[in-house]
Symmetry: C2
Subunit: 451 residues, 2 copies
């Protein structure tokens, strides 16, 4: 908690020590949830509508200034909450998907199928069939995926508009689980294998090659990586055009732009206590920076550009609220035990990811001062932590903490481990609140079983 | 896949190259699932009833031979499928729990509340209240948990029978996420803090200290660790008795016994190709070994013993069936892409855990031979793998693979990431099959949202 008023973003700000989402304090959100009849109000995800809009528009404004066709496809896997997806849709986005259920949801929500991209290194035949029937774009991940698609097209006697997912063998310099375009990756087609796949496509008139796709990974903060990749893709695009693939239209550069998880502003209040953490401000390229670099490299070639951001559209628009159950020491460590856990935010356990954590209100502990704490949940394993070695004011029991940047890859990766309910989700729009997901009931969890 | 007939266990065996669960081949299980109206039959969890029985009885037989009261409490978090829990209940087990929903399920299933243990480093007040109302045993994790329990007991004017969770500061020599009884752990009470908690208990007549508890972690294979821990706990038990805690009755030693994940039998068919894997047979203590050591150390003291195994009761009774979508190379790697993923089995991604993977039927690929493969799923991230560097026969498209020892901490940790359906679960009993969980439908997943 910060003594002065300050901002993480337009959407999340502290005023006199209380955290607000847009115009509503976290305390008011908890009261509101209680009034909705929700017995246990935390943990809860809280999203800011204006932050999503700002994120989407920062891409859309940059893209609409270009003299080429562009398409902004939200990567649905980041967060599939339909209420959030509708906001993104209203701002002119399409979707990039990785499963058949995602495609069924997208059609329910009224997205134009022809702008949807179905991606994936392991598509099932029914998923490909659903995409081909609806005229979606399909990223072909390799030879067996091309063969699968051929068989579906022949069965349906219907053309498929396909892009080839290229493995550009570029290291995005991120966590190994977030790296997807390096040599030996499970994703995409390597240069050496491209000719075989192209011959398969040429031999099947129902496969219409309309573009190429790559995606280097996620949490990328080095803009040079986007330049290098675009140069490679632009050259390949021209080569394929010259080889006679006349329908070539799209370069799809995926997503992957990182965000400022480490919140330098907050951390520098006492930098010497942050064990070995980066204390230089992180300079992360803006969407406009990325779009500019890509457009420069593509130059005056007639290429339609698809981008597929996920995290950079939604991560910083969401926080997880969690309440303090108690504080304990276990030498040489001290713990803040909260009611949120790895079942809501698995990224710290899975990727050693840093999520900023802070208390949302002034501590009521007498003489409270800052100490190094691990913030942990109640799940019965040592991997259940939200933050380690955080310099935090000792909180009172019931004090609310926020886990920041929880809008992407948190709720969508959530589980019922330990039979925990996946929590409520609230959308904040100015001073209006909307319950956009109710917590799981025991019946929800047991529904598919024989009880 | 092995050429000769051999057994992983009584329940899972290969006959002429086909994998059977009890008397039913995997192929028959897939056909049966299809006939149940399940559109996509893999991935699917398959459990053996007889293997669960064998596992439970190996504990129960050893415990019932002792001249002391004993109680075998299944750690429900390993797998909460009610059909499996009922089998365990029928063999005389009680439960150890870590959440309020687990307690609600246990009561629904008819377990005697007075033998149930509610454990957890971060209990919420409603969970403690539910346990106290029902007269369950409560493991007190530290000072704030003692204070919480006092407040609940006063509110209800009802006694709580409590055990103290001790942090014995013993290193179980396992993955750091599986280690829970070492100095600095978030779990339990350290020696230095024990007196403070005891004074709190003495001052509150509604808190009745009936025992002590510890749990060192999981996947333990060194029996000496159980001996060391029991010695410490036995000494502490006597000290507390001498201090006047007259209701002291239980020592609860938790669980933690490991299992043979690496399946040495299978691996040694070509040991030199297994990159750096352990090729010496793993000697894992049996439940009888563990019980014997504990009983020896407790000697003729009048102590009731509680054990809380999870993994060793259920892990080897379950496999995940998954079907091959295709095979691809991505130099320097080769991949078998299957329809199962980290959403069903997250242990490899989360703990770098080894699960044995093998094909369930003879390959139909011409001239198929064994090569090094990574077995990966369709989830859109590089952490989505089930096994790395596995020496496997090149499988045909549609070939079934089994991920072994998937009975514990797989289904219970499952998610809908990428909007994937959590899969069907089947119980095999001799030649009888029972659907004990249907796959998630899209409506199941979207139910709590506003679509």
């Amino acid at each position: 908690m910060q003594e002065e008023n300050y901002y993480f973003s337009k959407a999340f700000k502290y005023q006199n020590g209380f955290l607000f989402c847009e115009n509503v304090s976290v305390g008011e959100i908890k009261v509101w949830l209680k009034n909705q009849g929700i017995a246990r109000v935390t943990p809860a995800f809280v999203y800011s509508k204006s932050q999503i809009e700002e994120n989407v528009l920062s891409y859309q404004n940059a893209l609409s200034a270009l003299k080429r066709n562009t398409q902004l496809n939200y990567a649905l896997k980041a967060n599939f909450n339909p209420s959030l997806v509708r906001i993104i849709k209203s701002l002119g986005c399409s979707l990039t998907l990785v499963s058949g259920f995602e495609l069924e949801l997208s059609l329910k929500l009224g997205f134009q199928p022809e702008n949807i991209v179905l991606n994936g290194n392991g598509k099932e035949l029914w998923e490909i069939e659903l995409a081909v029937r609806n005229g979606c774009l399909l990223n072909i991940d390799g030879m067996f995926n091309a063969t699968q698609t051929t068989s579906v097209c022949r069965k349906l006697q219907k053309k498929a508009r396909i892009l080839l997912r290229i493995n550009p063998n570029i290291d995005p310099m991120v966590h190994k689980y977030n790296s997807t375009g390096i040599g030996g990756s499970k994703f995409g087609i390597q240069k050496e294998d491209l000719n075989d796949v192209l011959r398969e496509i040429e031999s099947e008139p129902l496969l219409q090659l309309v573009g190429i796709h790559c995606h280097l990974g996620s949490t990328i903060t080095d803009i040079g990586i986007f330049r290098e990749c675009t140069e490679m893709m632009s050259q390949l695009f021209s080569n394929l055009k010259n080889e006679g693939f006349e329908h070539m239209k799209y370069i799809n550069l995926g997503g992957g732009l990182g965000i400022d998880y480490t919140k330098h502003i907050a951390m520098t209040t006492d930098p010497e206590t942050i064990n070995g953490m980066e204390t230089k401000p992180l300079v992360i390229p803006t969407p406009a920076d990325v779009v500019k670099v890509i457009d420069e490299v593509l130059g005056d070639k007639d290429i339609s550009l698809i981008l597929e951001p996920g995290r950079s559209l939604i991560a910083n628009a969401g926080i997880l609220l969690t309440s303090v159950l108690g504080v304990k020491k276990s030498e040489p460590k001290r713990y803040i035990v909260v009611d949120g856990s790895m079942t809501e935010v698995i990224r710290p356990a899975l990727y050693s990811a840093y999520h900023h954590v802070d208390i949302c209100e002034p501590s009521q502990v007498e003489d409270a001062h800052k100490m190094l704490y691990d913030v942990v949940g109640p799940v019965c394993e040592s991997g259940d932590f939200l933050g380690k070695d955080r310099y935090l004011t000792t909180p009172h029991e019931g004090c609310t903490l926020a886990v920041f940047d929880a809008g992407a890859y948190c709720s969508s990766m959530g589980s019922n481990y330990n039979m925990r309910a996946r929590p409520a989700e609230v959308l904040v729009n100015g001073n209006k609140l909307e319950l956009i997901r109710r917590p799981d009931s025991l019946d929800d969890i047991l529904g598919p079983y024989n009880v």
